[in-house]
């Protein structure tokens, strides 16, 4: 089905209602603390968005998205840490002017690979390029050899484990298991104030919608169609003369870049980065957000991330000793009863009625149009 419009009607509805929710309703009704929590949840929505592209559309399940999230986050954290480690702030150290954890580990000069992070421009470039480059190397090494499916998932998981061990082991350079804490200012602007948190929130929402539009754009191009075709019948696409590996590498790199942007946002919002976002468990959690939201749906991924994280916070506040069971139960219920996640529920139970309503209202005057739009409301593939 070829759709000439950028969003069909139900997608436009999803887009606008998400925009309304994130940009108007939540900031109006939540205090700064809760809004900051939403901002934290939304950083994972970037990862989920990337997973919709690479897992939902491309069929490539990556269990190592935490690595890219962490890389983006660490790049940002290195910049902020250098700014927070000015000579004046670190007078009590044996070597002033270097991050505190380096001083604890008897490092006396700033390592070479830290130097570019004095510059914000280079940092932003690093956030976008380094994780993408890593994804390219992994993707090229795997997909060119036609490693896919479960094997790919296992390898990405192993990479997540390796990355964690590397970061923890090199604590003189990375802060080890403590991570990089006590980040304060961004080019002199204090990111810890409530005011800054609100501004950062809106900036994040803006970037998220830019990413959503980018993802939608990719989905609608021929590239997106080939990704879906590849997921359904890889061999047939290959025999049609397409280089399957290149398309897969592209999807994986795009997902990595989205995750890295999310990671950088996370560091800005929370004010620290640690290896606990890089390992296997957070990476799998990120896949769960996508699964709960519905892995085919761009908006579902965002809603799924928000819902799971909100449930996590609420349950753990109300039942500090039992909340993990509640969360586990939620996942089991979703997977058992709603395999297509939230977007599946929406599509099967809500969207259908809305479509019928609209169709009934306009049936007299524009019968033909109504039939067409009802068809548009069906799954886009």
């Amino acid at each position: 089905m070829i759709n000439s419009r950028f969003f069909n009607r139900s997608e436009l509805l999803g887009f606008l209602s998400l925009l309304l929710l994130l940009a108007v309703i939540l900031p109006l009704f939540l205090d700064v603390f809760r809004l900051n929590l939403v901002a934290k949840y939304l950083t994972y929505a970037f990862v989920a968005l990337g997973l919709v592209m690479c897992w939902g559309y491309g069929g490539i399940l990556s269990l190592g998205q935490g690595v890219f999230f962490g890389l983006g986050g660490y790049c940002m954290a290195m910049f902020l840490k250098l700014e927070a480690s000015s000579v004046a702030n670190t007078k009590i150290q044996s070597t002033p002017g270097i991050p505190d954890f380096m001083d604890w580990n008897q490092i006396t000069a700033l390592p070479l690979f830290w130097k570019p992070f004095h510059s914000l421009t280079l940092t932003i470039i690093a956030i976008l390029v380094v994780p993408t480059l890593l994804a390219f190397i992994i993707g090229a090494a795997m997909f060119k050899r036609r490693v896919g499916g479960v094997y790919f998932a296992i390898i990405t998981q192993a990479i997540a484990a390796i990355a964690t061990i590397l970061i923890i082991g090199q604590q003189g350079y990375t802060g080890g298991i403590n991570g990089m804490t006590d980040l304060r200012t961004l080019n002199g602007w204090d990111i810890r104030t409530d005011h800054a948190k609100v501004i950062l929130y809106f900036f994040e929402v803006f970037v998220l919608f830019a990413c959503i539009i980018a993802a939608q754009f990719i989905r609608l191009t021929k590239l997106g169609r080939i990704l879906v075709a590849m997921r359904e019948q890889e061999d047939r696409v290959r025999f049609s003369g397409y280089s399957v590996a290149n398309f897969k590498i592209f999807a994986f790199c795009a997902a990595a870049m989205f995750a890295a942007i999310g990671g950088a946002m996370f560091t800005l919002q929370i004010g620290f980065m640690s290896p606990s976002f890089v390992g296997i468990v957070p990476s799998i959690e990120m896949v769960i957000y996508t699964a709960v939201g519905g892995r085919m749906s761009i908006f579902g991924a965002v809603y799924g991330t928000l819902l799971v994280n909100y449930a996590k916070t609420m349950l753990s506040e109300s039942f500090p000793e039992l909340w993990l069971f509640g969360l586990g139960g939620l996942f089991i219920a979703v997977v058992l009863f709603f395999p297509n996640g939230l977007s599946g529920i929406w599509r099967d139970h809500v969207a259908r009625h809305i479509d019928r309503l609209i169709a009934m209202r306009s049936s007299k005057s524009k019968k033909a149009w109504a039939i067409k739009s009802a068809a548009d409301g069906a799954p886009a593939e």
Binding site: S94, N178, G179, G271, F272, S276, S316, E317, E321, L324
Partner: protein, 419 residues
């Protein structure tokens, strides 16, 4: 206790405090209206903390889920016990303590999030919490930004001092130096093999230990190795130990790794009654998992052991077991966590206010004579004066105290010559 003979303890302040404490139970017997005589809320709480005319809210922030739950549960129990006891005595400035418990879930960012929630949303007057250094490092900026007060119970690496934290555990030198001196003297230890988990606390501790061994004791370090948290394969290092035959194995292996480490030592034929092993990371809680038979004979250097023979401790152990069951064990950190609510109560009463800006300076010089470890005093640097003790692990999972420093050791989080 020899503490009791210290001249400084008969200060007027202490007497006042004791009289105050003695009078407190009486207050709880009076009818409710008598609370009106407690100071007005507006006078003792000028910064909008969660203090009403009858209640004050504090936060408890530990991991009750995840890998750290096994260690942190004891701290939660001790803090709840202390709060219960304080409430039974009439509370703090006539207000009962109510607590809000949050789960850090063994996850450092969650700790930061929950600390922020407790300070910003719940406006708690103090937080008893954190365990690992990583969680404290994550929470510290939050405490400083929102001006909270954290009572941190774990022995830790030092190199930190904050207006917004009271460290009720030992900083590294308080725990390490006395133990090394003792082992070097009584066990004639000249060569040491250092083994630790790979993160900031063991690494900093080993750095201090190495400087002390090489610089002050004239010994040598025959090996130094670190393993990732959760590591369970110690065979290679045990082989190296067998080859180098150090006088002392000095261990700072933490958490679940301990179980594998001591079992493998035993399986490799290293008899801890002949080979001296000194650890700074095994308390009664860990022995619960390791098994007394696997570690019997090893020495641990701590400030508190459940078996300490003093009236305060007997009372504490009895109360703890009554509340949490006969089978619970009490380790060093659990006792330090128990100190938190008490020290806070005394500081608030000394300051006559719940305001953080008033209790931070008032903390210096606070003495707690009923501490299970004997007697503690808060140093102006917000750490505690405390003793160091060496205990030998027994088959039943308890420690037999074999050495105790005669004097309280001054806390020195930034030790000169050890950095």
């Amino acid at each position: 206790m020899s503490d009791e003979k210290k001249p400084g303890l008969h200060s007027p302040l202490r007497r006042k405090l004791l009289m105050g404490m003695a009078a407190l139970p009486a207050i709880s017997l009076l009818p409710r209206t008598s609370f009106a005589q407690a100071p007005a809320t507006s006078a003792i709480n000028t910064t909008g903390l969660a203090v009403t005319d009858t209640e004050v809210t504090v936060g408890i922030l530990h991991s009750v889920t995840g890998t750290m739950a096994i260690s942190e549960t004891g701290s939660v129990q001790a803090e709840k016990l202390a709060i219960d006891q304080i409430n039974a005595m009439g509370g703090v400035l006539g207000r009962k303590i109510k607590f809000i418990q949050e789960d850090g879930a063994s996850d450092w960012p969650t700790f930061a999030e929950k600390a922020k929630k407790l300070l910003v949303n719940d406006k708690v007057a103090a937080i008893m919490g954190c365990w690992t250094s990583a969680s404290r490092k994550a929470v510290l900026p939050v405490m400083e930004q929102y001006n909270g007060m954290l009572y941190y119970p774990t022995f830790y690496e030092g190199l930190e001092q904050s207006k917004n934290v009271i460290y009720t555990g030992q900083e590294a030198t308080q725990q390490i130096l006395a133990g090394l001196d003792w082992v070097s003297k009584t066990k004639n230890g000249k060569s040491f093999y250092l083994i630790g988990s790979d993160y900031i606390w063991p690494r900093t501790s080993m750095k201090i230990a190495r400087k002390h061994i090489e610089g002050k004791l004239g010994g040598k370090v025959s090996g130094e190795e670190y393993f990732p948290l959760g590591h369970t394969q110690f065979n290679s290092v045990i082989n190296k130990i067998k080859l180098t035959k150090p006088d002392v194995i000095y261990a700072a292996v933490v958490g679940g790794s301990n179980v594998a480490f001591y079992k493998q030592l035993k399986a490799a034929g290293i008899d801890l009654s002949k080979q001296t092993l000194l650890t700074i990371s095994v308390t009664e809680d860990e022995i619960d998992g390791i098994g007394g038979e696997n570690i019997a004979g090893a020495y641990a250097c701590m400030k508190y052991f459940q078996s300490l023979d003093n009236p305060n401790n007997k009372e504490f152990v009895a109360a703890f077991k009554k509340m949490w069951g006969e089978k619970t064990v009490i380790g060093d950190v659990t006792q330090a966590a128990y100190l938190g609510p008490w020290l806070w109560k005394m500081t608030v009463e000394k300051a006559g206010s719940f305001d953080i800006d008033k209790i931070a300076p008032a903390s210096a010089g606070i003495e707690f004579t009923k501490a299970p470890e004997g007697y503690v005093k808060v140093h102006p640097n917000h750490h505690l004066w405390s003793k160091a003790r060496v205990g030998q692990a027994q088959l039943d999972g308890q420690f037999k105290v074999v050495y105790e420093t005669p004097e309280l050791i001054e806390p020195d989080p930034f030790p000169k010559g050890y950095q």
